[in-house]
């Protein structure tokens, strides 16, 4: 009447084993699901830059407006990292010397482009246009967080589609229930409308 293998016996412990197995599977599933959902999300990414540029000092303490350096954000899809010449606009005049500023000046002397590291990376297949958002009055901090308080820039937002949509849904005049009415009183003045169409971002 005995059955084969001690391990097998353990396996065949009976009901209790069954319960445990079910619970384990359930938990494992949930964990795996959570992990999978975070694939490709780099929230909190804060790489060290070739020159430890402190936004805190510039944008925070000295209150330099974001768009002074990232001027392209007004007109282009890219906010743009300022060319070293923009840095030099001030740093040629400033006495203050630090190791980091030295690095900058060195680079300029040697014509060596500074290879910054991109912090906020959207997937390739999504089109994001800075100027569109800047002109529609979206504050930089809305997506980038309080950069003016950061010594090293860090990705605050998950940059997932769901996250984009949260904001777009707030400001959408499209596809809501009272859509018809909205369309009627929508003047033909260019009201910045956050699109909920796929082609607002994907093409």
């Amino acid at each position: 009447m005995d059955l084969a293998g001690g391990g097998l016996k353990a396996l065949l412990m009976g009901r209790r084993f069954l319960v445990v197995a079910v619970l384990a599977l359930g938990l494992g599933g949930l964990l795996a699901g959570w992990e999978l959902s975070r694939v490709g999300v780099h929230q909190g990414y804060a790489p060290a830059q070739p020159i430890a540029f402190p936004h805190k000092v510039h944008a925070g303490d000295n209150k330099i407006p974001c768009l002074y350096c990232h001027y392209a954000a007004r007109t282009s899809r890219h906010a743009g990292i300022p060319p070293a010449s923009v840095c030099m606009n001030c740093h040629t005049l400033l006495e203050k010397q630090t190791v980091e500023i030295e690095k900058l000046k060195e680079a300029v002397q040697e014509q060596r482009p500074i290879k910054w590291i991109k912090v906020h990376n959207l997937p390739d297949f999504v089109y994001f246009n800075h100027s569109q958002h800047v002109l529609s009055g979206v504050a930089c901090q809305r997506c980038h967080g309080a950069v003016e308080q950061m010594d090293r820039v860090q990705q605050m937002s998950p940059l997932t589609m769901g996250w984009c949509l949260e904001c777009h849904r707030e400001h959408a005049h499209i596809a809501t229930a009272d859509f018809q009415r909205v369309m009627q009183d929508m003047t033909h003045r260019p009201v910045p409308v956050a699109g909920l169409d796929c082609t607002s971002c994907h093409y």
């Binding site: 396996l11 065949l12 412990m13 009976g14 009901r15 084993f17 069954l18 596809a175």
Partner: protein, 174 residues
């Protein structure tokens, strides 16, 4: 702890059936019958009432139906309505197939699960066979000797009359 049983084994269902009816006449309560295939018309002899398992099917099938319908309504109409081929957001007709499938799926699985629970069937359960070959060619009629009031002699007599191949008293866990 083991219980005491009076076990009669048969080599065909007919005699066993006969014995079962006789037992009923004599107000003996048949503990259970073990057979390699379901013997019809045994139920009344054993006073087995129609199983209530189909209700499980009805209830959980209904649940499946609701889950499917609400799920589709939520995703398609409420959560993110999209203009798909200019069709109106409310596409109830299009929901029917999936609703039906989920009803059947959940209903069916639930019923089987219920059966396993009710009949205490689960992987790794040790089978407890009252006699050899009840899963092959032997039929066993089992009476429980609950207390002294159980008239063993009479029972034996009836069983013998019914032509049991073997009658024995044994203690076992079933």
């Amino acid at each position: 702890m083991p219980k005491n049983f009076l076990v009669a084994t048969y080599s065909n269902a007919g005699r066993l059936l006969q014995a079962a009816h006789a037992m009923k006449e004599e107000k003996f309560r048949i503990y259970d019958v073990y057979a390699p295939y379901p013997i019809h018309h045994l139920d009344e002899a054993m006073e087995i009432h129609r199983s209530r398992l189909p209700w499980v099917t009805l209830l959980l099938g209904g649940a499946g139906l609701l889950i499917a319908l609400l799920g589709q309504f939520y995703t398609v109409i409420w959560d993110w309505p999209m203009n798909v081929g200019g069709k109106p957001a409310n596409a109830t007709l299009a929901f029917i197939p999936i609703t039906f499938e989920l009803t059947v799926l959940i209903g069916g699985l639930a019923t089987v699960a219920a059966l396993f629970l009710r009949a205490r069937l689960y992987p790794g359960k040790r089978e407890r066979l009252i006699v050899e070959g009840v899963t092959n060619d032997t039929f066993a009629l089992v009476l429980r000797k609950r207390d002294t009031s159980f008239d063993t002699a009479r029972a034996r007599q009836i069983l013998e009359e019914s032509g049991a191949d073997l009658i024995e008293e044994k203690a076992a866990e079933l």
